[in-house]
């Protein structure tokens, strides 16, 4: 089942299926190790529709809600 990353709860592990944003966002996420096929763990979700904190390849990245919405993932 595919779903966007912003609707994933804390401590869930997911696999990136695709990134629906444009060139800029794809490249920027790629630089931080987020490509289709990568495994992401959602670690925290800030209040008031704030950003989410994910862990990818042993590194932590904060993603704004809008950015997270563009990442299509699959729950393992």
């Amino acid at each position: 089942m595919t779903i966007t990353l912003d609707s994933i709860g804390e401590n869930q592990k997911v696999k990136v299926v695709s990134i629906s944003g444009g060139w800029g966002i794809r490249q920027r996420l790629g630089c931080l190790g987020i490509h289709p096929g990568d495994i992401i763990t959602v670690k925290r979700s800030a209040i008031m529709r704030g950003p989410i904190l994910i862990s990818v390849h042993g590194n932590q990245v904060a993603l704004g809600r809008g950015v997270a919405r563009k990442i299509i993932v699959e729950v393992e």
Partner: protein, 636 residues
């Protein structure tokens, strides 16, 4: 020989740089603090080496201004050796940049920095094997402790002498075929020579749709453009993804494969510091800690500052009457000498006592890695004023000094965001204005009143942000920010950084202060100050301030702390409370915080956002200052 430090953000390039240069480049634990390059020269084996510290860049396809600057510098082609600094604890991701640097075919050395941190995380790296894979030397280091730095530079020197270039690592066969075919076309048309880069590098950039290279030749060579689109489409059809995704995925897989072949994983050692985020980034406790940290910080500055200011001021109080006894107060030489003394006293007794604890505390928060956490916590709030979380970094730096804060807006992706944050950053009370808030308001009224000013300031900034983002409606691109691991601050580095920032005050502001005091003394001696004061009288009478304040406001544009020190001199006593009411002190402080940014800030604004927008900022902040100060006069 020219050596360039290149690596991903927060990999420790500036720390390596400082190991040989002395503490010259500001280091902190957040990605993107170096926004422009720093140069130094040093001696190695009898040779003069020029070392350049470049801004961190995740890849050679650059997005923000700082990254572009790094790439531009490297492509200029006068670098003899590249030192690729890697955070060893983030090896797999870092190798993606290494692969791209190899495509440039420059002599290169890899510096595996923070090797101790990697070991702590249970990442064991086979250094020899890694060196064999890339065909370049790999030197492990712990830059913060100066370990491995000597070997790093002597290796770099040897590589530079031999002009030793690493291997080019091939992608999957079908992708590599497309790259080769496009490379041949580029070579034929000699586009590579135009850019002075290898044809394979250029072919990859075209397949990645890199806007800089695309724009540059679209105008020149329409013929090649068709070829590029053709090859991009081949990749798109065979892989079912855009060509840039194909290339970045290829690199990603290569890096992962190399990583897996050279790394052996063991159990990580978990320390207390790893649990810190359970509190500091907690959805509830996180905000309480944020408030508490800043409240304690505020009290620390006030506590230390007051403790030192009082006895020092007392000392200088006694100096002036002594002087009056020995020199006739109505002479010119008395005016000059007392001006110099007041300038000196202002620096020692009023500014330094607050400046030091503030800069020291800020350095600790920066080095610990707390700033990106604040960005995470406040992202939702910043969205309400049309910005995103990353903007908090220039804002916090703004509490230190507005100039680096405006430079730091370069980490923001959109031009609009940079403009709005630059304007807002000018309104944040920098360390100079902080000394006014502490030495006038906290000292003569109460610490609570000073705290209220800070809170009011944040509210005004938020409202201004809201207004500006309404005027420039555009959706902010959203935050993508790496949250680095915490580092225990090194006391040596914290002190070095504090000193580097204090130097700015001691060697630039202080002499200016002394000169300013002397000029004011002369103006008073020749009674010309009244001319200026009368010119400003419509403003001072609107705000209900003493007439003598007029002149001091001009000095405040040179350096913000001058306006207070000149005020003390103009009213003729350092016991401000004897001459000005609490309302007047409050009105003066509010006005000085918001009105026209200082001259150094105007200069950097001019460069970063252009002349029109700088003039807008000056007008905007001046009007705001007059409105707020007038309200203060009648309400407080």
């Amino acid at each position: 020989m020219k050596i360039a430090l290149m690596g991903q953000p927060n990999s420790g390039k500036s720390t390596v740089f400082n190991d040989v240069a002395g503490y010259k480049a500001i280091t902190s634990n957040f990605p993107g603090k170096t926004v422009k390059y720093t140069l130094t020269k040093f001696n190695l084996l009898g040779q003069t080496i020029e070392l350049v510290d470049l801004p961190g860049t995740y890849s050679l396809t650059s997005f923000d201004l700082a990254e572009l600057e790094a790439r531009k510098y490297l492509l200029k082609g006068n670098v003899d050796v590249v030192i690729n600094v890697i955070d060893a604890s983030l090896l797999s991701r870092s190798l993606e940049l290494t692969l791209q640097l190899l495509e440039l075919k420059l002599p290169m050395v890899i510096c595996l920095n923070m090797i101790d941190e990697a070991e702590r995380k249970g990442i064991g790296i086979d250094i020899e094997k890694l060196s064999k894979v890339f065909g370049v030397p790999v030197v492990p280091a712990v830059a913060i402790k100066g370990k491995g730095i000597k070997e790093l530079f002597s290796t770099a020197y040897k590589v530079g002498e031999k002009k030793k270039i690493g291997k080019t690592i091939s992608f999957s066969k079908d992708v590599e075929d497309v790259i080769t075919q496009l490379s041949i076309q580029i070579k034929k048309k000699q586009i590579d020579q135009e850019f002075n880069v290898p044809e394979r590098f250029l072919a990859l950039k075209y397949l990645e749709n890199d806007s800089y290279f695309m724009e540059n030749y679209e105008k020149k060579n329409n013929n090649l453009f068709k070829e590029i689109v053709h090859f991009q489409n081949i990749l798109k059809e065979t892989h079912g993804r855009q060509s840039d995704v194909v290339i970045s995925s290829e690199r990603h897989h290569l890096s992962m494969n190399i990583y897996e072949s050279v790394v052996s994983l063991t159990r990580p050692h978990i320390g207390l510091i790893d649990y810190l985020d359970n509190i500091l980034m907690h959805p509830f406790l996180g905000y309480i800690s944020l408030g508490l940290i800043f409240y304690l910080f505020f009290n620390l500055i006030f506590g230390v500052g007051k403790m030192v200011e009082e006895p020092l001021l007392d000392y200088f109080y006694r100096l002036i009457p002594l002087l009056e006894k020995s020199i006739n107060p109505s002479t010119l030489s008395f005016s000059i000498i007392s001006g110099i003394i007041q300038g000196l006293a202002g620096g020692i007794a009023i500014v330094l006592p607050y400046l030091f604890p503030f800069l020291f505390g800020l350095a600790i928060l920066e080095d610990l890695g707390y700033l990106p956490r604040i960005a995470f916590l406040l992202d939702a709030f910043l969205h309400k004023i049309g910005l995103h979380g990353k903007a908090i970094i220039p804002f916090i730096l703004g509490y230190g000094c507005t100039v680096p804060a405006i430079m730091a807006t370069r980490i923001l992706e959109s031009e609009r965001d940079r403009f709005i944050s630059s304007v807002l950053a000018t309104m944040i009370p920098c360390a100079a204005r902080m000394t006014i808030i502490f030495a006038l308001v906290a000292f003569y009224i109460s610490p609570q009143a000073a705290l209220a000013i800070y809170i009011l300031n944040i509210i005004v900034i938020a409202l201004s942000g809201k207004i500006l983002s309404r005027l420039l409606p555009e959706i902010t691109p959203g935050m993508i920010l790496e949250i680095p691991a915490y580092h225990t601050p090194s006391i040596k580095v914290v002190l070095a950084k504090t000193w580097l920032r204090m130097k700015e005050f001691i060697f630039v502001a202080w002499p200016l202060l002394i000169v300013g005091s002397t000029i004011l003394s002369l103006l008073q001696y020749y009674k010309t100050d009244m001319l200026i004061n009368n010119l400003f009288s419509p403003l001072t009478s609107l705000l209900g301030l003493p007439l003598v304040v007029g002149t001091t406001l001009i000095f405040g544009v040179l350096r913000k702390e001058l306006s207070m020190l000149m005020l003390i001199q103009a009213i003729g006593t350092s016991n401000v409370a004897a001459v000005m009411s609490t309302t007047q002190i409050m009105t003066f402080t509010i006005f000085v915080i918001f009105y026209v940014p200082c001259i150094a800030t105007i200069a950097v604004l001019w460069k970063e956002i252009g002349s029109k927008r700088t003039l807008f900022t000056i007008a905007f902040t001046s009007i705001l200052a007059i409105i707020l100060a007038t309200i203060t006069r009648f309400v407080y």
